[in-house]
């Protein structure tokens, strides 16, 4: 436990369900799927022809010339961070920029730029390769662009821990404020890899759903007939702020970021530990860090990606670390799996569930796996008095991150 309290004072997102937090949250509560057919010509030859693409393309939001110097993942990051910043009211708060940090990551980085520029290199030679290539594909690009936009001078950090990136970036933000390195941190993550190579790569791992005829039913965490995750894209941003700093300026507070736990499996490069031992330690660590016990956690926004192995390991883990009482959901049933951005978007969902006392549904849970022995908000949003909520994120490489949010 730390004696420095950290609160969330702004949220921003661009997702397959909406171009901002409000539209995304409405769609989540309504149980709407953001998954659709990939209509691009390249998709025709792939085994997977479905994905959750952005509801609002960055070209509708950002200025054209700026956009052509950014990777899609960077553009999404900037859009989400702008919304969160405006939402926080910090623009007019006279914040010392040397006390503002960024902790923003991506699971894969500027892969679309890398692949597109490689095409140009092959077809037209090196002279035609864009001079913006390197800053567009570098994994710290999203964090750096946000830092430039806001004039952040307390360090711009770029996390990369595959599908745990977003949650780990938030956890790092918590550390930065607790250690006194910043008063405010823009934390979150972005991912934009809906492109034939990453899709083919994941498909070759047999990790993705091939329910190509029923895109809206393809992401079905914990359902008996789940057959893999559905790739999504998007970004989520949270403004983390030292509680006394937020109080002094009369900021609107969404929730308290009460604790974080980070562990690694040491088990396999991609397979999750079937006993979820690393996940259990992360969850316990986060609960202890928050000064709570498992009994206090009322809701878990689970990692549950709709893969046959991963979903059930986490159930064992939640039961061991928290107990049999929390109500679970997997918003990936609607958004698909945003990979590195998942932890940021799902933290936002957990925070809003806490604030509004309503848990978004897990759609497509028609025929639950018989090993699912915990309560899930299946099909429809569920009202609940939530005092504390957890977000879990696990990633290739054996990364496990749990975050605990409590009511403001």
């Amino acid at each position: 436990m730390s004696n420095v309290d950290v609160v969330v004072t702004g949220l921003g997102a661009t997702t397959p369900l909406g171009g901002d937090v409000a539209s995304t949250w409405d769609a989540l509560l309504a149980g709407r799927s953001g998954v659709g057919h990939l209509t691009q010509e390249w998709a025709g030859s792939l085994p997977v022809r479905i994905a959750a693409q952005l509801a609002v393309d960055p070209s509708e939001v950002l200025e054209r010339v700026r956009l052509r110097r950014m990777d899609r993942s960077e553009a999404m990051a900037v859009i989400a961070a702008k919304e969160a910043w405006a939402d926080s009211g910090l623009a007019d708060a006279g914040l010392d920029q040397e006390r503002l940090a960024v902790s923003f990551g991506s699971g894969i980085g500027g892969a679309i730029t890398l692949l597109d520029q490689d095409d140009i290199l092959e077809q037209h030679g090196p002279r035609r390769v864009s001079p913006h290539t390197v800053p567009m594909l570098m994994p710290n690009g999203p964090a750096a662009h946000i830092g430039l936009d806001l004039g952040a001078k307390a360090g711009v950090r770029a996390m990369a821990s595959a599908c745990a990136t977003g949650a780990e970036a938030v956890a790092l933000g918590l550390d930065l404020i607790r250690l006194g390195r910043a008063d405010v941190v823009v934390a979150g993550s972005t991912e934009a890899v809906i492109h034939p190579l990453p899709v083919a790569g994941f498909a070759s791992m047999r990790a993705m759903s091939t329910r190509n005829d029923e895109p809206e039913r393809a992401s079905r965490p914990w359902d008996k007939n789940r057959d893999g995750f559905v790739l999504g894209e998007g970004a989520g941003a949270l403004i983390l702020e030292r509680a006394d700093h937020a109080a002094a300026r009369g900021a609107r507070i969404y929730a308290r970021l009460a604790g974080a736990g980070i562990t690694s499996d040491g088990y396999d490069i991609v397979q999750p530990d079937p006993e979820c031992r690393g996940g259990i330690r992360a969850m316990r660590m986060a609960i202890e860090d928050a000064g709570l016990t498992g009994a206090d956690i009322h809701h878990v926004n689970a990692h549950a990606t709709s893969t046959p192995v991963g979903d059930m390991g986490e159930i064992k883990g939640i039961r061991a670390a928290i107990g049999s009482h929390p109500i679970l959901t997997s918003t990936k049933s609607m958004t698909g799996h945003l990979l590195g951005a998942a932890g940021a978007l799902e933290s936002i969902a957990a925070i809003l569930a806490l604030r509004d006392g309503i848990i978004p549904p897990t759609i497509n849970l028609d025929d639950p796996d018989e090993r699912l022995d915990l309560e899930v908000a299946a099909h429809k949003a569920r009202t609940a008095d939530i005092q504390a909520a957890m977000n879990n994120s696990f990633g290739f490489g054996g990364h496990n991150v749990a975050l605990v949010f409590t009511r403001a």
């Binding site: 054209r64 035609r128 913006h132």
Partner: protein, 80 residues
């Protein structure tokens, strides 16, 4: 053979596409960096696009001499 006016308007199209420069602002006496706010990476893009549009080669050691739009027009006029 393109005239100086045609080359200038061709450069204006490239500058708009690459750097968002208003074509009305493009004139021979304007400096790429000081007047039109074209940064060094964008200048590389302008040069490559101009090479293609006008069928010229603009070597890197020549680019530093192209301070104004007029300098570029003169080079292109002499070499295409």
């Amino acid at each position: 053979m393109a005239t100086r006016t045609e080359i200038t308007s061709g450069l204006a199209e490239i500058l708009e596409e690459v750097a968002g420069v208003n074509p009305d602002d493009v004139a021979e006496e304007k400096s790429f960096t000081d007047d039109l706010d074209v940064d060094s990476l964008s200048m590389v893009e302008v040069v490559v696009a101009a090479e293609e549009k006008f069928g010229v080669k603009i070597p890197d050691n020549e680019v530093q001499n192209l301070k104004t739009v007029g300098d570029a027009v003169t080079y292109i006029e002499a070499n295409h």
